[in-house]
């Protein structure tokens, strides 16, 4: 039982096999893609492995503290930022192998021409919260 984060990147991951920007797909292909994602999440709820998911806008802002009584400083977005997260899903699975299997399934979502995108997803284990017997 371990939680994993599946990260989808706008930028920063290696190129997908079927690497066509979404705006060049047909509307039907976009619908098919969205349906695949919904079905995937629903399936995970049914298997008892779903924790959560969200999609993110492509543009964000960098923010930092600028001292007592001063407004926060903002900057960006930076076009050159290498890593840009598009969205995430959290799963709770029994084994690492199962996490790999699910990530691969998500990566097979259909894209241009209805063919799987073969998109690279980043799989990150969560740090556990409970204290295991360590002594």
């Amino acid at each position: 039982m371990a939680k994993y984060l599946l990260l989808k990147h706008y930028r920063g991951a290696p190129a997908a096999v079927n690497d066509v920007p979404m705006e060049e797909w047909t509307p039907e292909e976009i619908s098919a893609h969205m349906q695949y994602m919904r079905d995937f999440a629903n399936r995970l709820v049914k298997t008892g492995e779903f924790v959560g998911e969200e999609a993110l806008t492509p543009e964000g802002t960098f923010v930092r503290y600028d001292g007592e009584g001063r407004p926060p400083v903002t900057d960006g977005p930076f076009a050159e930022t290498k890593d840009l997260i598009a969205g995430w899903m959290i799963i709770d699975v029994d084994t690492y192998e199962r996490a790999l299997e699910l990530a691969a399934e998500l990566s097979a979502a259909p894209g241009a021409g209805g063919r799987p995108i073969h998109e690279w997803l980043e799989l990150r284990p969560f740090l556990g919260k409970s204290l295991l017997i360590t002594e």
Binding site: M1, D92, L127, L132, T134
Partner: protein, 398 residues
Amino acid sequence: MTPPPTPPPSPLPAGDELVLRTLTPAVLAVLVRRGADFAAAEDAVQDALVEAVRAWPKDPPRDPKAWLITVAWRKFLDAARSEAARRRREELVEEQPEAGPAPGVDDTLQLYFLCAHPSLTPSSAVALTLRAVGGLTTRQIAAAYLVPEATMAQRISRAKKTVSGIRFDRPGDVATVLRVLYLVFNEGYSGDIDLAAEAIRLTRQLAAAVDHPEVAGLLALMLLHHARRAGRTSADGAIVPLAEQDRSLWDTTMIAEGVGILQAALARDELGEFQAQAAIAALHADAPTADETDWVQIVEWYDELTRLTDSPVVRLNRAVAVGEADGPRAGLAALAALDDTGLPRYAAVSAYLHERDGDTATAARLYAEAARKATHLAERDHLTRQAARLNARLKEGS
């Protein structure tokens, strides 16, 4: 600002709620014995528990168990009737079955076996055990494991389907049950459910139902670890290493109980993994100060444990004990013999032994490496702090 979520109403005093949960497996067993299939019976018992929480404060029953059986059976019949109406086969459920013999400890034991059945994944077995044997609600289990309630509901529902065809009267393997209870215990506590305490309660109940030295061994192990919980973390949640723990915070009554249970189990001369682990925990709990720990005996128990399991994790822990018993060089030699640097905590153990050996620079580097490889938050913070402590010492020295 959204207001904080209100907790679900629970007018029952905590003691009564525990009584309720303690009765869960026996009530469930009665329904199964009367011919209800496991999944439907389990749903009916959950419904009855919910109704008890509502009804008991105003109208406490004279015989809580009989009350629960009556209400659960009615819930089962109601559900079966509506199901039957749908399928046009009322006649099947209209017959009132014989009550059958009174449920005994064997029924409870069968429930443990069923919920830990090898056909279930570990997470499913854990969830089903907590609900069907522990009497926890899906919401409570979901909160404890930090997953949405809908996800946990599906996990439990699938688990019930998986075991629905399994005969209830066939004896199972105690070892599978112990593994599930051990998993629950190791989850500690998050939210308002203390899973470690719940694991102890369920293991105690199991020990009452079956006479098995490893069940006693696991119960002793849990008690001996749980007794030291108050000393194990600081107020801000940071790990306090065993040697630095305030031993006056340990629960001596619980330690005495654990030691007593362990001694009775060991006297039967059927050593197993949990008894050996409990023996090591007992030697730690028994030492008035860290310096008085009997490390030589602890190494001997690790040798027994290696013989029983030959797990690399055990040999890693043994290297720590050897380091204490025979000095850090001996510990490092034991570690080198392990030949498996990929193990979780290998770098942490190596760092510890190098520091004891006076090699601060290597220890600092290894602690930082161990922190990067840590799989738990508190553990990572602890290892980072160790690295920082040694790096500060190195800067002072230079």
